[in-house]
Symmetry: C2
Subunit: 402 residues, 2 copies
């Protein structure tokens, strides 16, 4: 009788680090900070349209939305639209807001045949003329969409095959629309580079990221939910992007055939203090909480020195700047949770609202995801679980029940 099995085991930090270094040969997002952005910047300068319409879903839109949302006060006056859902009421509402005669359509699909994206692209063809004057395609260079674009002399940008959708925000997928909106994409990549160098070279981030990943993995059965609690509406898009990155990367069957999962939740403060916070504080201890704060909102609006009849007890908020109120709210929530001493928390403070900082934040979350994936011994970069639904859908639609 012979029996041999390589059961799951957590590796040492240094072994994981070596595997991450090795992985860079085949996984493309690691090198994105070092790309040449000249072509993208030059193309962006030529765009004259006022309405920029992204037709793409999931990894083709979430990262761009996150950065656009974060930098919303730091962009030019072009209007960005996202078309992604097949909900007919949603499509109508969004298309109604676009000046179709003054729009650039950016079709983003890695495979080139994403059903939502192509459905909407076809629908738009029935609403306006689409040609090389108002269209760009971002896709793999051997996709059918690429062939379509070439035939019609439509400008294309490539998504490299080794860059997955949810790791593509710093590829042309995110950089092309963001550059058109006036975002300084080089500073964005500088933020990524800082994280890259700090992790791989001077190893400043090494301990921070490794320790966090190891804690999450070693306690994943106890704390199966990872909450990101962001204290600013600027991070609403980031939260959504994080949910895709974390959920789709880490919800996998690993090399031992056991199911892995860390479930992401995104909250916004202070609003969700009035919603989800009770559950964190008194509920079962199944959650870790990562707070994200913005040090300086650069907006000085202040509660005026007004006393309202019978509400004088609230005069203690007078003359306080809202940017201080929201950060005091964050700190108070953090302190209340810390005092319980049985909920794992960490706090990320962003110095200011700019390209460099959002690049840093997002790249560090990508890196953390890769490290956790290595610890639990999964393929972080595929998504085999969603294929069956696609096949069932295709078969349903081919029967053509209208």
């Amino acid at each position: 009788m012979k029996y041999n099995r390589n059961f799951y085991q957590i590796k040492s930090n240094d072994e994981i680090f070596e595997k991450i270094v090795e992985e860079q040969k085949t996984i493309g997002y690691y090198r994105l900070p070092f790309q040449d952005t000249k072509e993208i910047k030059e193309f962006a300068k030529t765009v004259t349209q006022k309405h920029i319409v992204i037709i793409g879903i999931g990894g083709s839109s979430l990262g761009t939305y996150a950065i656009h949302n974060f930098l919303r006060n730091k962009q030019n006056d072009k209007k960005l639209h996202f078309l992604e859902s097949t909900d007919p009421l949603d499509i109508k509402k969004r298309v109604n807001k676009i000046d179709l005669n003054n729009a650039l359509f950016i079709v983003i699909s890695k495979s080139g045949t994403t059903i939502e994206t192509l459905s909407i692209f076809k629908y738009l063809h029935s609403q306006t003329t689409i040609d090389k004057s108002n269209c760009v395609c971002i896709t793999e260079n051997d996709s059918k969409l690429n062939e379509y674009a070439n035939k019609h002399q439509i400008k294309t940008f490539e998504i490299s095959k080794d860059v997955g959708g949810r790791f593509s925000v710093f590829s042309s997928v995110g950089l092309v629309p963001l550059a058109i909106l006036g975002v300084n994409i080089d500073k964005l990549l500088d933020g990524c580079k800082e994280v890259y160098n700090s992790f791989f070279c001077n190893k400043e981030y090494y301990e921070e990221l490794m320790t966090k990943a190891r804690f999450l993995v070693e306690n994943k059965n106890r704390f199966n939910i990872n909450v990101v609690f962001s204290y600013s509406s600027l991070l609403e898009g980031f939260n959504k992007w994080y949910i895709q990155l974390w959920g789709e990367s880490l919800g996998k069957i690993n090399i031992n055939g056991t199911r892995q999962a860390l479930t992401p939740i995104g909250l916004l403060g202070p609003v969700d203090q009035h919603s989800f916070l009770q559950l964190i504080i008194e509920g079962v201890r199944d959650k870790t909480v990562t707070f994200i704060k913005i040090e300086d909102f650069e907006e000085e609006i202040t509660i005026p020195d007004i006393s309202l009849d019978y509400l004088e007890e609230l005069d203690y908020i007078n003359n306080i700047k809202f940017k201080n109120i929201i950060n005091h709210q964050a700190d108070s929530t953090i302190k209340a949770i810390e005092e319980l001493k049985d909920i794992p928390t960490d706090v990320i403070t962003i110095d200011k609202v700019d390209e460099f900082n959002i690049g840093k934040l997002m790249y560090s979350f990508q890196l953390l995801t890769s490290i956790v994936g290595k610890f639990v011994q999964i393929n972080t970069y595929d998504q085999p679980g969603v294929e069956l639904g696609k096949v069932i859908l295709k078969n349903k639609l081919k029967v053509k029940i209208n």
Copy 2:
């Protein structure tokens, strides 16, 4: 030696039912379907302003937003705004969209001293004149806000003390703004009544809700996450409302001193097929999934009969209505998950987009929450866990660090 302990035990369905019947004496939301709406409807007719501004957070805004979002194509042309976050950039952005000279401000705070609400209310005083001609207050009838309103002859509507914030959508909190927007609030309450009568009288819903609640409770340690997967952007607000209702009601310490929690997650299809679905399908079996579909979107937009060069393989989607595409996507995802046979799912299908159906949906979720709360022997209606943070904040702000 004597030892006695009433450890947690799940009661029979009939015992729980009796407790729910008993609870109606002290918990106000049960009777809301049967209220007289005359005063609200008459007031709504007198509103001439174009911009309706809700100043309220959590339970004071989420329910109204959910119904407004669902019925967005069935309202008059007034513009609804929500001011709730203390994020200075968010406040500026939202206030900029309001015509302050043509606005009605609806201040909603049960306690009358909610810090976010009063901060924003004070800030608005510095931007425009607020008096009885453009302001309404919705609050408890002995709150300081009520006294303030009375002193300034500002119209008030009462929130009954026994109606909690997250159970208040069918009180004046939701009905006043919704009536102003042209929503048929009586039909909304008719939907609630149908659920009420069906559960308490003819008991049609009795088995459905009891069975679901019991399943969730008996398996709460295995499936600690309850996903609502809504296949329409019309339900985005409903998802947020559900998260507050479920999380804040059920995240509690029960009568035996043990922590309870069922963690809510809200997803939107088809977009989240490209995000969270992988985690559901291949990840750890720690989630139940409730799908919500809309039978008829009443919107006929169709994929045109266009063939794109090199993309002819996608011609099978031609001539299909989007409302059918999205429902085929829902059905395909449901089927793919059902085939796995180890993820608990249920499917709610809404016949059409109207007041009656959203009333039904939301009231049945409130009832389900109450039943689960009784099973796990908690107080479903309070939120003691968030008080500590409020005290810490007050102390911080009183030190006045600007």
